[in-house]
């Protein structure tokens, strides 16, 4: 058997999404444009730009984890509730004491990992659709949390607030951490078997199973990563707000927004294709929109309305050319 002509490798644009560079350029143009138009040129100086990057951290960390879940063909709607749990748990355990910091962080991460295992196991073992499984787990978490705490609980010590408020030179720790985590996530996806298997399970779960991949473990792994990232976001919020309250996750709409930025970043909602740099570019777009609304002086409620519309439109840009059916 011989081929008449060699089958060429796919051109680069087929293999790599065009989303990240486009989003990056678009965000920069929007940010600079609005700053110039409103005459707030100080937003273009170092402090303004750092402020913009800092807006990315909370959503950015959880969105990195959400990218893993979505690439594996799953989705996680429990992240907002888990973020609240993590923030409250951290500040409740610390009670303002620096010596409890390590214990609190370890306990929060352990709880997050456990939630990830539960999510993944319900999906892969009980075969509950990811949407319902994580929604249900989110409700369970929120119910337990709200039953136990009704307001800000405890506080974090000064030392822990450094996470959100301290800097290396001009670069805040939190921004550096976000990019370090993104680099780590990108490495895991590109250069490990776990990464390869995530794409396999998301692209064709049955095919992956027949190829001998333990798909249930991969799904659980993806959810552990996702929940850990939600736990980290919770810790970051506790540090920034100096305490955790049971509504911090829900008020940030982290569930919907993390999914939206992942999709906007070029990751297929059905799984099997995508990456974290696109997600980060999507987060930048959202941070830019937020900053632009502020500069334009849009008040809180119209901002909510616009946000919903923007999420829909931003996702629709990727979906409206779909040939098949979508429900």
């Amino acid at each position: 058997m011989s081929d008449q002509q060699a089958i060429a490798p796919a051109p680069a644009w087929r293999r790599y999404s065009a989303a990240p560079p486009l989003l990056l350029v678009g965000s920069i143009l929007l940010y600079v444009g609005v700053a110039l138009w409103t005459g707030q040129t100080r937003m273009l100086e170092t402090d303004g730009v750092i402020g913009l990057l800092q807006r990315m951290v909370g959503l950015g960390i959880v969105a990195l984890g959400q990218t893993f879940a979505i690439i594996a063909g799953s989705i996680d709607l429990s992240v907002a509730n888990l973020i609240s749990v993590a923030a409250v748990l951290a500040s409740f355990i610390m009670q303002g004491r620096a010596d409890m910091m390590l214990a609190a962080v370890l306990i929060v991460l352990a709880v997050s990992a456990l939630v990830g295992v539960v999510n993944g196991a319900i999906i892969s073992r009980l075969q509950v659709s990811p949407f319902i499984a994580t929604l249900g787990v989110g409700l369970i978490l929120q119910g337990l949390l709200s039953a136990s705490f009704t307001d800000f609980a405890g506080s974090v010590p000064k030392e822990f607030q450094l996470v959100a408020y301290s800097t290396f030179g001009v670069v805040p720790y939190s921004v550096a951490a976000l990019f370090a985590l993104a680099a780590l996530a990108s490495f895991v996806l590109w250069a490990t078997r776990f990464g390869a298997h995530l794409y396999a399970v998301g692209g064709n779960a049955e095919g992956a199973r027949l190829a001998g991949i333990r798909t249930d473990l991969v799904t659980i792994g993806a959810h552990v990563v996702c929940s850990l990232s939600a736990g980290l976001t919770g810790l970051y919020l506790a540090s920034r707000l100096r305490s955790g309250a049971p509504w911090v996750g829900r008020d940030g709409v982290y569930d919907l927004e993390s999914i939206a930025v992942v999709v906007i970043g070029g990751t297929l909602l059905a799984g099997g294709r995508g990456g974290v740099w696109g997600t980060l570019a999507g987060v930048l777009l959202f941070a830019t929109l937020d900053a632009a609304f502020n500069m334009l002086g849009v008040s809180a409620y119209p901002k909510l309305v616009l946000r919903g519309a923007i999420v829909i439109l931003a996702v629709a840009v990727y979906t409206f050319r779909t040939r098949g059916h979508v429900a």
Partner: protein
């Protein structure tokens, strides 16, 4: 030296599902390097047997031996580690990933825990070259043709040093040239010492490639024999349990009527300058290789991917259907080649499936059982087509392939279109149901309908059609009368764009 044990031996394999005995003490064995064909009608138990071998199902009883050693598989991964590789009918490649990533799926080479992409690429290239293919390891699997995807599947099997390779209808979606190449590859791989279990409905292929054959019927082994002792007639008899003398119904002796469908110079992105007519009462077959445009033609006629340059008349009236609904209104019906994705409502009842088209066109608030959608008139059509189901309220997913196909035909009979397009009407359908479907087509023609049959199955094109159109490179390349030889059809189908040696496969 004592005689070597068989490479694979399955003894008295039994498997029961709730209410059905799928396998009843099935046994067969193959020597090292043997190509062993497995055949039988749909539902005979082939797929179940293969799933037992692949570790997807656990058998209720029986033993599996590899090289004389008894084994038991609890998960596909265990079977794979034991050297068993299965190429399923539904290809399992990841369309968004590279060929190299697909070939090493689940067995990725690593260095210090990090994926060794260079080794993956080099090894993938080496495996593909060993198969005589020049597919680039970096290309996306989803960009490859079905034929090339099959090659990648074989390379995937070789990547784990498979000792036993099971191929489930590997040529079902391939045209004749590609199928011929695949058979060459099967011989080549078996010559390297790999044992091959080959499942196919196509007798010609089995005759061409297999050393021995095992026939299953109703979950039991009917016979195992060498091919030399088993002419096709005997195999078919063993599979069906009776002779199928007049497989193809006789052609009509009446001259065809006026042209029902008249296409002049139609074109779109994949087709150009297509002109032909189909007359009332005739069956026109359309043959062609994969990518010749014969599937695009069907999609264009039903408005799914419509013609852009249009010159189409139905019963003398100009028609320009822009979407399927318009095509149906203009009088075109089409039986899809993919009944699972494009035909059936798997979880709805047989009756609901058979009334889908009437319900698509009835006023939205009408009762779903008003005439002509009533159970009485629907059942009449289903019985007329001899649809076998436990009850017509049964869900369509539980029917056999042939019966599912008949349910979809019943759906169209209710509409009774002037022009009927049959795409691969007998794909995945067993021998007895095939004959029935050909008879239905002939009956429709006799009632004055115009029939266009698009098929990759040459014997069926030749046996059923009154005229044969042959497509090549997006246009009609020639026409032959019914009963032409396979060589004549192939000569037109492959002219110019293929080397002559490819014809005689």
């Amino acid at each position: 030296m004592e005689q070597a044990a068989l490479a694979l031996e399955m003894l008295d394999i039994t498997k029961t599902f709730p209410g059905v005995q799928a396998l009843d003490a099935v046994s067969f064995g193959c020597a090292r390097g043997e190509v062993h064909a497995l055949c039988g009608e749909n539902g005979a138990g082939k797929s179940t047997l293969i799933k037992v071998l692949g570790g997807v199902y656990r058998p209720d009883g029986g033993t599996i031996r590899l090289d004389g050693r008894e084994v038991a598989f609890s998960h596909p991964i265990v079977a794979r580690r034991a050297g068993i590789s299965i190429i399923h009918q539904e290809l399992s490649l990841l369309p968004q990933r590279s060929v190299a990533e697909n070939i090493f799926l689940g067995v990725e080479p690593t260095r210090f825990g990090i994926l060794d992409r260079r080794t993956m690429r080099d090894e993938a290239g080496r495996l593909l070259r060993r198969l005589g293919s020049s597919i680039a390891p970096a290309s996306l699997a989803g960009d490859l043709s079905i034929a090339h995807q099959q090659i990648v599947e074989i390379a995937k099997a070789l990547a784990i040093d498979a000792r036993i390779l099971v191929m489930d209808e590997p040529t079902a979606a391939l045209d004749r040239v590609d199928a011929g190449r695949l058979l060459d590859l099967v011989r080549k791989v078996s010559a390297e010492g790999v044992t091959i279990v080959y499942i196919s409905h196509r007798m010609v292929e089995i005759q061409a490639v297999a050393d021995r054959v095992t026939v299953l019927k109703d979950g039991r082994t009917v016979m195992t024999t060498t091919l030399a002792e088993a002419p096709t007639g005997r195999l078919v008899r063993a599979m069906v349990g009776r002779d199928l003398a007049d497989f193809y119904p006789p052609r009509s002796s009446l001259p065809p009527g006026p042209p029902t469908l008249n296409v002049r110079g139609a074109a779109n992105g994949q087709l150009h300058d297509v002109s032909f007519e189909v007359r009332a009462g005739e069956i026109v077959g359309v043959a062609g290789l994969e990518g010749s445009g014969k599937d695009a033609l069907a999609r264009a006629l039903i408005g799914d991917e419509p013609f852009e340059v249009e010159a189409m008349e139905i019963c003398g009236r100009a028609a320009k259907p822009g979407h399927p609904r318009a095509a149906i209104q203009a009088g075109i019906g089409r039986l899809s080649d993919d009944r699972k994705r494009e035909g059936l409502l798997m979880q709805q009842s047989v009756r609901d499936n058979a009334t889908l088209i009437e319900r698509a066109f009835a006023p939205a608030l009408r009762s779903p059982t008003a005439e002509p959608m009533s159970p009485q008139s629907t059942d009449k059509r289903l019985i007329q087509l001899d649809v076998r189901a436990a009850s017509f309220e049964q869900e369509a997913q539980f029917l056999s392939g042939g019966n599912q196909q008949k349910v979809i035909i019943a759906r169209w009979l209710a509409r009774d279109p002037e022009i009927f397009i049959f795409c691969e009407p007998t794909r995945g359908v067993d021998v007895a149901a095939k004959a029935a479907i050909y008879q239905i087509m002939r009956d429709l023609a006799r009632r004055g309908r115009a029939i266009l049959m698009i098929s990759s199955d040459l014997p069926e094109i030749i046996g059923v059609s009154d005229r044969i159109l042959i497509m090549r490179e997006g246009t009609l390349a020639g026409e032959l009368p019914g009963g032409a030889t396979e060589e004549e059809v192939m000569a037109i189908a492959v002219a110019h764009d293929r080397e002559p040696h490819a014809m005689a496969s």
